[in-house]
């Protein structure tokens, strides 16, 4: 039976739900809370209450790749410089977790990564700690603005510099947007299963803008196709911008050069064409997570793998892929 695109996408979303990995998520949460407590105890009155961000905080996580970020807002007078703040947090976490042999701690683009050693189940928990400093004294509580440090040349910023951001605003930007979240999760599934390097934040902002500027409606496929069409038609335009809700001066589309914008537009075009041409192609771009495939009577037929690999007599072999004579 031919695949029904919307039903398939529904199955895809279901199979990528975080609920399937409750145990793993709990482990992450526990570790995050552990770090949170350690930070509060170390920096006590120098910080405001740490909060969760990343895909988990935004409810756009997928179970094949998710971040549990912990944002630690420092008070304006806690450190002289943003760099000192970043290094101090790194030194603390390094001493606390790395030197004690519990985890590997390393400086990342804007965060400090704490990768805990594999536990008895073989799970490796990774928590990214993002330190940020209040812009001006006593403004954080109302404004939520923070300066974050760039430890690498990234997203158009140079190592050693810092920028204003408002992570809370970024989280709020996607609040109560269930339709957008579904499409964002689908695009993240595409990104992660197809080896695409686009930033999730870029896909997130593109989706939200598409819903805002275009008429995105219909079933799952209708909405996804609407967003992909919007990206295809608009991302190459010179005047196209993607304002970071955390810093209106930051145009996130600039993280792509013109070739990258053209390539993303072409990819969207190709995907739409291939899927419209033959619905089965949707399974390549948006695959079901086979580990958590939901097999319901009304779900689409998601038979993966080769027909030849199904149970049955294997002589004569019925490998369907050719090019190599077997004798």
């Amino acid at each position: 039976m031919a695949v029904e695109k919307s039903t398939h996408l529904d199955d895809v979303l279901k199979s990528h739900r975080m609920a399937h990995i409750d145990g793993l998520v709990s482990k992450h949460k526990n570790k995050r809370d552990e770090i949170k407590e350690a930070m509060e105890s170390k920096y006590s009155s120098d910080i405001f209450s740490p909060f969760n961000s990343g895909s988990f905080g935004k409810h756009t996580a997928i179970n094949i790749k998710f971040d549990l970020d912990l944002v630690v807002p420092f008070k304006r007078d806690s450190f002289d410089t943003i760099e000192n703040m970043f290094n101090d947090v790194y030194d603390f976490l390094y001493k606390e977790y790395h030197e004690s042999g519990i985890a590997t701690v390393r400086k990342q683009k804007v965060s400090i990564g704490v990768l805990f050693n594999a536990d008895a189940d073989g799970d490796e928990i990774n928590i990214d700690v993002v330190p940020g400093r209040e812009l001006t004294k006593d403004t954080y509580v109302d404004e939520k603005d923070l300066n974050i440090y760039f430890n690498e040349d990234t997203w158009g910023f140079t190592k050693g510099t810092y920028t204003k951001t408002n992570i809370q605003a970024q989280i709020d930007h996607i609040k109560a947007k269930d339709n957008e979240r579904k499409v964002i999760r689908l695009l993240k599934i595409w990104k992660n299963t197809n080896g695409e390097k686009y930033k999730s934040f870029l896909l997130e902002l593109l989706t939200i803008k598409a819903f805002d500027k275009a008429t995105i409606s219909g079933n799952n496929w209708g909405k996804l196709k609407g967003v992909m069409t919007y990206i295809k038609d608009n991302i190459t335009k010179d005047e196209f911008t993607l304002k970071d809700p955390g810093n209106s001066n930051n145009d996130v589309v600039k993280s792509l050069d013109s070739w990258g914008r053209q390539a993303l537009s072409s990819k969207m075009d190709t995907m739409i064409t291939r899927i419209e041409e033959n619905a089965e192609n949707i399974k390549f771009y948006f695959p079901i997570n086979e580990d958590f495939e939901v097999k319901e009577e009304n779900s689409s037929n998601s038979s993966y793998g080769l027909k030849g690999s199904s149970v049955g007599p294997s002589i004569p072999s019925n490998n369907q892929r050719f090019g190599q004579d077997e004798l």
Binding site: V3, T193, N194, G195, A263, S266, K267, T270, M271, R274, N278, E280, N281, K283, F284, Y285, P287, S303, Y304, G305, L306, K307, G308, S309, I315, P316, S317, N318, N319, Q320, R321, F322, G323, Q324, D325, E326, L327
Partner: protein, 551 residues
């Protein structure tokens, strides 16, 4: 031949001032024309000969020729005074005569009036001649090292084969290296296979720097015209004396080197027959009295030139190669059946320098009809035969022997072990590109699951070669499976089932498969050179044309 038509047409050509002595012979019309152009003070005289084939060309040459021995110093004039022209096709005698006489006129204006120099270097003209009815040819490449004027030494050669050339036996040699009298060897840039061939002939070399020619391009015809140094003549004398009995009649080449373009060197081979070296001993005299010493001098004998060719990579592949980004890659092909062997051979012919391949399979006679394998090599390991075939094609391809069990045993047994995974990734790191043509689903899964730092491409075809599927790491396993299981209508019923065999195979001819493979390689070359985006693709025949469907 229509004498009157030819005569009247030539006489009407405006710049033909006069026709002299035109006459019909048994197989040609000959005569002389005086050409007068505005640009010339005096008319120029050319003998002409129009052969029976006219206006058709014969053996790639015009069947009309113009000659004037006095013009031999000008460009494109042969030693016998023939002017070298190539003109357009026409089946009309009158039109062709006009075309050919106009070509003569253009040659006069370009080379006599304007004294133009050609930008393109043309080799010197040396008439090759056999010795004892056997021809000799020598192939060489540029060496990395330079040669200095007056440098002397020996040359090591190996025989490619004794083939036929213009009705005679021809010994085809290639030069392995030049060994100067003092200093290190200078190796030709062949691959490891040719470099390690046994030396089967030794020659001598002398680097003169300036081409050994008269009138700019005609090779000397007499030994006495070559100013060979006494050291070399004495060396020849000693060689002949020592080997007279043992090697009498054997031909050894003397390579005379000279500069062509930039730092490029060409070697002209003068052939020497042991026992007939063109030297004579002359007694040294002081005040008219012999002092007991003898010196060697060249005699006034004809030079027998051998055929030489510079076969450096740039010339060998000068007519067409894949992009440098592809030819410089270190490539591993997994599975060298129909698709894999075609890919290996095409990459080799298109200039790739490093291709290793792995396959545990045996080549059977039934494989020959749709792969690059040959009946003549019998039943043999595919890897051994392919290596032989590829080396026969390209002297610039390097291929290393691999452990046939690497993927089948090592990788498949231990791919889940994280430590081993790192090792496999490291093992494959020396390659820039791995092409998996094995059609092995298990291996496809295993390789796709490794976090390879090497580019990996997977290629396979559907039954009847209806489609070719090409996927790039890390989007291989899922894509290929979906194509075969859900998207393409692969016919798995109409298979070829050979008698006595439990393993049916797909139906498709060499032509069916190679048509797809060549288009896939064309597209891959564009992807690798950066001209096209790296997207998985399917090649499909639709409406009598092939379509590349990108994903």
């Amino acid at each position: 031949m229509n004498f009157d038509l030819i005569n009247s047409t030539i006489s009407k050509i405006p710049f033909v001032k006069k026709i002299n002595n035109i006459e019909q012979r048994e197989f040609s019309i000959v005569g002389n024309v005086e050409i007068l152009l505005e640009e010339l003070q005096d008319s120029l005289s050319f003998d002409f000969q129009i052969n029976l084939e006219y206006p058709l060309k014969s053996y790639d040459s015009e069947s009309i020729n113009f000659s004037n021995k006095d013009l031999v110093s000008y460009n494109h004039v042969m030693q016998n005074g023939n002017i070298c022209i190539h003109t357009s096709h026409s089946i009309s005698i009158t039109e062709k005569l006009k075309i050919d006489f106009n070509a003569l006129k253009d040659w006069i204006i370009k080379y006599i009036v304007n004294q133009d120099e050609d930008l393109n270097y043309e080799h010197i003209v040396a008439a090759e001649s056999p010795i004892n009815d056997i021809s000799y040819s020598f192939i060489f490449t540029e060496c990395k090292e330079s040669f200095s004027k007056g440098e002397l030494g020996t040359v090591k050669l190996s025989l490619l084969n004794d083939g036929m050339l213009r009705g005679r036996t021809n010994y085809n040699f290639f030069i392995k290296k030049f060994i100067p009298i003092s200093g290190d060897s200078k190796n030709c840039q062949w691959n490891q296979y040719y470099n390690r061939q046994k030396t089967q002939l030794e020659g001598l070399y002398y680097y003169v720097e300036d081409a050994p020619v008269t009138q700019g391009r005609f090779a000397y015809t007499k030994w006495s015209e070559l100013s060979l140094p006494t050291d070399l003549l004495n060396l020849l004398h000693e060689y002949e004396r020592e080997n007279f009995n043992k090697l009498r009649g054997k031909v050894i080449p003397l390579f005379i080197g000279y500069k062509t373009v930039g730092t490029e060197i060409h070697w002209q081979a003068a052939l020497l027959e042991v026992g007939k070296f063109p030297i004579e001993g002359v007694a040294e005299r002081i005040n008219g009295r012999k002092n007991g010493k003898w010196n060697s001098f060249l005699v006034d004998a004809e030079i027998s030139w051998g055929l030489t060719r510079n076969s450096s990579y740039e010339y060998f592949f000068g007519r067409g190669v894949f992009s440098k980004e592809l030819t410089e890659k270190k490539i591993l092909i997994i599975g060298i059946g129909a698709v894999g062997s075609m890919i290996a051979q095409t990459l080799t012919r298109s200039g790739c320098k490093y291709i290793d391949f792995i396959d545990h399979d045996i080549k059977e006679p039934e494989n020959v009809c749709r792969s690059e394998y040959r009946f003549a090599n019998g039943i043999t390991n595919k890897t051994a035969e392919l290596e032989k075939i590829l080396y026969e094609i390209s002297p610039f391809l390097n291929s290393a022997k691999l452990n046939d069990n690497y993927f089948e045993k090592l990788v498949k047994s231990f791919y889940t072990d994280p430590e081993r995974q790192k090792k496999f990734i490291d093992d494959l790191k020396p390659y820039d590109l791995i092409v998996d043509c094995s059609t092995d689903n298990d291996l496809m899964y295993v390789l796709n699951s490794l976090e390879l730092e090497t580019e990996l491409i997977n290629l396979s075809i559907t039954n009847h070669a209806k489609e070719l599927i090409c996927a790039f790491h890390p989007n291989i396993y899922k894509f290929v499976n979906n194509q075969f299981s859900n998207v393409l209508n692969n016919d798995v019923e109409d298979l070829y089932e050979p008698t006595g065999c439990w393993s049916p195979t797909f139906r498709a001819s060499y032509n069916d498969i190679n048509t797809l493979v060549q288009l896939a390689l064309k597209h891959l070359n564009r992807i690798i050179s950066g001209e096209k985006a790296k997207n998985n693709f399917v090649i499909q025949e639709a409406d009598n044309s092939l379509k590349i469907i990108e994903f």
